[in-house]
Amino acid sequence: MDIFLTYSLTATKYVLIILSVTILIRCLRSMLSDRYESETWAYIRLGRETLPVTHWENVIGRSRSADIRVDRKGVGRVHAILKRSDKGVWTIYDVFSRRGVWVNSVKVGPRGMNLDTGDVINLNGATVRFQDITTARRQKLEAQRTSAGKSVSPLGTILELSVFELFLLLQHAMTAQEEYLPSIGLAFGLLLALEWACYLSMRLMGRSGFEVETLAFYLTALGLSVAASSTPEDMYKQILLLTAAIVLFLLMGWWLRSLHRTTLMRTVFAVGALALLAVNVLASDVVFGARNWLEFGGYSFQPSELVKVAYLYVGASTLDRLYRKKNLFVFIAFSAACVIALALIGDFGTALVFFTCFLVISFMRSGSIATVLLAVAGAVMAGVLAVSARPYIGQRFASWGHVWDDIYGAGFQQSRAMSAAAGGGLFGKGAGSGWLKHIFAANTDLVFGMVCEEQGLIIGICAVLAVLAMAFFAVRSARHGRSAYYAIAACGAMSMLMVQMALNVFGSMDILPFTGVTFPFVSRGGSSLLSCWMLMAFLKGADTRRDASFVVKPVNTIEEYEVVYDAERDKYDYDDDGRGQA
């Protein structure tokens, strides 16, 4: 390598680091420190007080954690649920029928009762009055909310990200073999094009929240760099996958816009997920000890990745359903089926990811720590059984913490990953200049080592923090979510991605047992990239900042539905899913 090239590579390394850190900080600031006010959807008048209804799904009761707190004698801690469908129909449900709820003196039955402005709700003696919000009032309130990207311009961040990607490409241009340059260039070009197409179309829709996409694109760019240095001959496939991932993200986001449509199709998704897993258990090829690959005309494909999306889709739930025990049992049975299928397949890493996600969702749904502990105890026992039944799983645990004692055996991959990662120092060796790529699974299970070696520890940490930032944002958004469905789905998706990332990073760095799962967005692997981008749609669904997310319908467009609702409300009785029944 001549001197000029060496110096250029060194210079680009520092540029990449500075850009990474600033992109991360800009996104963090924009997502976590900007003001984030709740939306207001209706009012409840309680004596002289007027309580704003800030969600689509609200608990009415005496409890401090009730969304609408009616601290009057006779009212249950969780007494009733007030729900708005995305068509704008308000329904009230009785949670404890022994106390009873009456609307205009008519007792609310098990299917709930629709509400209209001015209706008087009697909660076992305490009366409140329901008042829907007027269009003018809502628009006025909406205008007072802080819009996304107010303090940090999303354009600036995406410009920085573009420069980041160009510098990555520049590094590859200096190190890659000449024959692969066109495909690598094309891949990065496409990444830039997709990124800008996404951004510009969001702006055209009047949306200004782009932090989630920016971070996902940032991680995807790192993944593309990993692919370019480890398998440059496969870049065209990456291009195809990348396009597919973005298209699926947009489709999924569009699909989630309607809560009605989303909840309607849950059974379909559940059946689809189980069918995919069944096919997987019966028909897939055994690759590297796990039967989780299906072959489609030369493309290998991991069904379990798509099942992740379906799992969240099915696992998340609206508030009214949460108070029916039956639903939780159905969810537990579905989860058990998924985890058992994955264990049969032999993909214990993914089984663990599902299981943790199950814990988060079931805790969010039930709030019962006892249930969670019980589930953990059950899983530990099942794990012990699995290890005793299949000794090769036990071997992974045996080498855990001792990989340096067996660098030519059980610790082969991890010790190389750790060595390469440390060899990269803080600033890395530059894209394409590492040696870990020659080790088996470097661009998937050991990808954290590869990122640290080529881009340095700082960017490695930035990648981890990017995922954490999205998780923090999911928790923050959940507080202001319209429906529990989006809140649970976003939190579930982020816990899934975090656990997956933790298993990948800490498994390859010998802090946890090596389970061989992928680092979200960064690890090379088609189905994984697709599922990660689809999970991002759930996160976008929870983002209710003003004009932030394309998945969340803005207040203005919602007004259109009100007309429909007015016309239809006499003909239809809405049940809990918002499903119309004559």
Binding site: L359, M418, F427, F472, V475, F506
Partner: protein
Amino acid sequence: MKKITNRAVSVLLIAALVIVGMTVYVLRYIDDGRSWALAFSRANSGASGTITDRNGEILAVFDETRNAYAEDALTREACYHVTGDYWGRSGTGILSAYWDDMQSFSLLTGTTHAESAELKLTVDTSLCRTAYAALLGQNGKGAVMVMNYKTGEVVCMVSAPSIDPMDAEAEPPEGAFLNRCLSSAFTPGSVFKLITAAAAIETVPNIETRQFYCENLYSIAGVEIHCTGPHYTQNFEQALANSCNIAFAQIAVKVGQENMIEHVRDYGFLDKHTLSGLTGAAGNYPLDFVGDPELAWSGIGQSTDLVNPYAMLRFVSAIANHGVLAEPHLLESENDGGATRLMHADTADRLAAMMNYNVVAHYDPDNNFPGLPLCAKTGTAELGDGTSHAWFVGFLNDENHPYAFVVLVEQGGGGLRVAGPVANRVLQEAMKH
């Protein structure tokens, strides 16, 4: 909703665990990153280098394809404690101490492509081989150090037992990884009388005119001191040559514990000395008040006295060089290592003369050390279990061969009978150069 969103905090728990894990990783990286990075780094960082002795003979050579040592097994074993090995099994050794420099790693920049590193040592492999063979000729447990007291170049550092680093399969003998020259301290016995003598010269005004009487047994405050004598009446010089315990017991008491401690400390026997980045062990001397009988024993190198062979080498080198210690070193690049005065020139010269008298009067130089301009002192350090360490320390009073030496045969027996021949073989070899 509020209930559910409150429970979303469980997501933060996972995030917190990830942060804990990352912290663990970063701390481990700071701690062990160097060893991780260099574990496979021959092939990866492209580091290469050679370590040679003063005559250019290869002691270790490594590049992208190999980690090699000297060609013949005797050299590898004799020089093992100088070179060390690529796995860092020996705590001392140039490979361990300078591996990082030769590999170029820093926590900030990771591994970098190292220029070929060449380290030229001051040791002479032929002296090391001779010393190692001589130690094997005794009980195979001991230490030999030789240095040029004018320049500070350590030309021989051998510790036995040793291993052949190329023969990774062999079961290493017990204590093979311990460098007895640097990493251990031993009961000194009579070689300690040199220190007591030096302290006496500097603190007892009429020491040279004093007479000491030895009748084999002497009692201090009811505690008996034995001697190999009887030596009857003797002056200071004769007392050292006789290695008379009774005389030196009296001298130590005369010097007093405070003065003894001060001199032991000044001569560096309580310090951990470094030799080109390799750290040695500290010695011991009773520092708390012990009373006259114990003070007497400490003055003749028993009691709780412990001496590190390298510290002793520094001391005799200073005596040989008129009280000035040329800083010892193993790397040729450190040849201008500076010098420090350990004692007055007069004291050093007087001790040197006495050590020469020792040899002439008592060590039968014509038979034991033919042709050597030798100044020396023997030591037979009784360990209380019937065995004793054999010591022989001193220097050649020769402008062309200015070598100071320390020979220790662990549990070898009598100083002159066991350590003497080892010293003779090494010094005869040194005289050829």
